[in-house]
Point group: C2
Chain length 315, copies 2
């Protein structure tokens, strides 16, 4: 494998739902060679009917990936990851490997169990909708989105470069993160917001029709993601439960302190710190640092970018 | 006073900030006679410069209101309500009286202390922005907004009709509610969302730059109202602290139960109830019932509309 090859290796996508299917469409639109597998015939047929190269024959697809030296992208739900990795280990263990699953430590550990860690670099595009399946796919889904790329100690520089290039080919911005850091971060800014939205919706509705009639902007925005299908919320929170519990415990401590302060008629502390925190979010900057995978100290450079919340691109 | 009078009595607005000033502009645009008072010369001057009838002489304005039999609207912050009601009791005790303060029981109790209950009907337009002062006023602020009108036992039918008409003159929809019910409802759908947004912002920011870099739609929406000035958040939550604590305790119970469920890897209960509650909010309907103030049983009819979350108009 060489990253100076002018014809990039094809991409083999396993799972053509919202994320995998949108990735297939984005890459096909960009002229990159891409083929894929989907478990259900309905999804594979829909992809084929739209002119894409899709099959329901996993072993056949993996044999083709091995022959072509394809970059394999695992895009199945977490519960199906282990079974797919087992087939990859059997049929295409030499292919570079990434994934788009919303938790990273669990996938990394599964890759290790199957002896695939040396060719694996985890990924997570922070994009999606409440919809699912091929019919919800959108080749523009990743444009300007954040695509997390793992910088765990095991990563291979050449595979890492290919995964960053894959993210950038879809219009996304690559942000490096270690798997555990990723899982802790999304617990705070993605999974906890879902938990709070569900709780707020319940407390509002338990007030009855008058209460819901008085709900306006703050209630509408605060409960928006409670409109997500419960199965999707469960999948993200339950597969990252340890990190979600850590974030939730911090939140419970803040709310309990605010409750005690309110008994004294004083909510100054939380109101001021919350406002400052929101301003920090609004005013965050996204610098792009150039990293040269394989150069001395490149992984530390990428981790430094991660700690500062910066994006990276490859020099 | 008669409600068949073709020339409605003028409106006297005390306090020309965001709400009072927007009300003055909406009424002036509609050709209704309106004059007002503002404590600070800057606000009164800005209103006058824009062609409105504004003064900093409270006693003079109240004398004029008494002479004209004006409908007085108290539009000052809660901490200033008591002082303004004392002047009204001294100079214009016979005028019909309402307010636009975001808590209702406290204002009602203050009106009672000053002997003004017989002419007072509480109001609360559920509209606003994070901005304040005359420069933030907007004559369209109330269009399609909910304007809560009190149906406490003491209300006078003729004043009630005038307050509903005032709300409708701005483009708002009148929803009847008893003061305690109003305060309990806004604690759930307005004040609690602010408390949760502050706590979520703090937990997100405490994750550091990488965490904020990964924040996307769910974090942005969930923390939006944490961008409100801390003083405004404090004013709404601290003046309604008992009801906020009740709502917050329910929320803490939901979150604590979800935390325990997550230790077993199962968030089904909250995810499903939260989703159902959000759908109930999205699918709420706003029927409009006709009420005839003063007719037998009219207050019970209005309260029935309140319990169902319906709007009212006067027949």
């Amino acid at each position: 494998m060489t990253h100076s090859n002018p014809t990039p290796r094809p991409v083999c996508i396993l799972g053509l739902g919202l994320i995998g299917g949108s990735l297939m469409r984005a890459l096909d639109d960009g002229g990159r060679g891409v083929f894929g597998w989907n478990r259900s015939p309905a999804g594979a047929d829909a992809a084929s009917a739209a002119g894409h190269d899709a099959s329901t024959d996993l072993d056949g697809v993996l044999g083709r990936a091995a022959d072509a030296g394809a970059l394999i992208v695992v895009a199945v739900p977490m519960f199906a990851v282990d079974g797919v990795l087992a087939r990859i280990a059997a049929l295409a263990p030499g292919c570079p490997l990434t994934d788009v699953v919303s938790v990273k430590s669990s996938v990394r550990d599964a890759a290790a169990r199957h002896g695939l860690l040396g060719r694996y670099v985890g990924g997570h595009p922070m994009a999606g909708t409440a919809e699912s399946g091929w019919s919800a796919t959108d080749p523009g889904l990743f444009r300007d989105a954040v695509w997390v790329v793992s910088v765990d100690a095991h990563v291979d520089a050449a595979v890492w470069r290919e995964v960053v290039a894959l993210a950038e080919a879809t219009g996304a911005v690559a942000i490096p993160a270690e798997s555990d850091e990723h899982d802790a971060a999304v617990a705070r800014v993605s999974h906890l917001p879902h938990v709070l939205a569900e709780a707020l919706a319940v407390v509002g509705a338990s007030g009855g029709p008058l209460t819901l009639a008085l709900g306006a902007g703050s209630f509408r925005d605060g409960t928006r993601v409670a409109g997500t299908a419960p199965a999707l919320v469960r999948a993200m929170c339950e597969t990252n439960s340890a990190a979600v519990i850590t974030a939730l415990d911090e939140c419970l401590a803040e709310l309990s302190a605010a409750r005690e302060a309110l008994t004294r008629g004083d909510m100054r502390d939380l109101a001021e710190r919350g406002h400052a925190a929101r301003l920090a979010f609004e005013n965050r900057t996204r610098a792009v640092r150039v990293v040269d995978p394989g150069a001395p100290g490149w992984l530390d450079a990428a981790r430094g970018a991660a700690a500062a919340g910066h994006a990276v691109t490859c020099g």
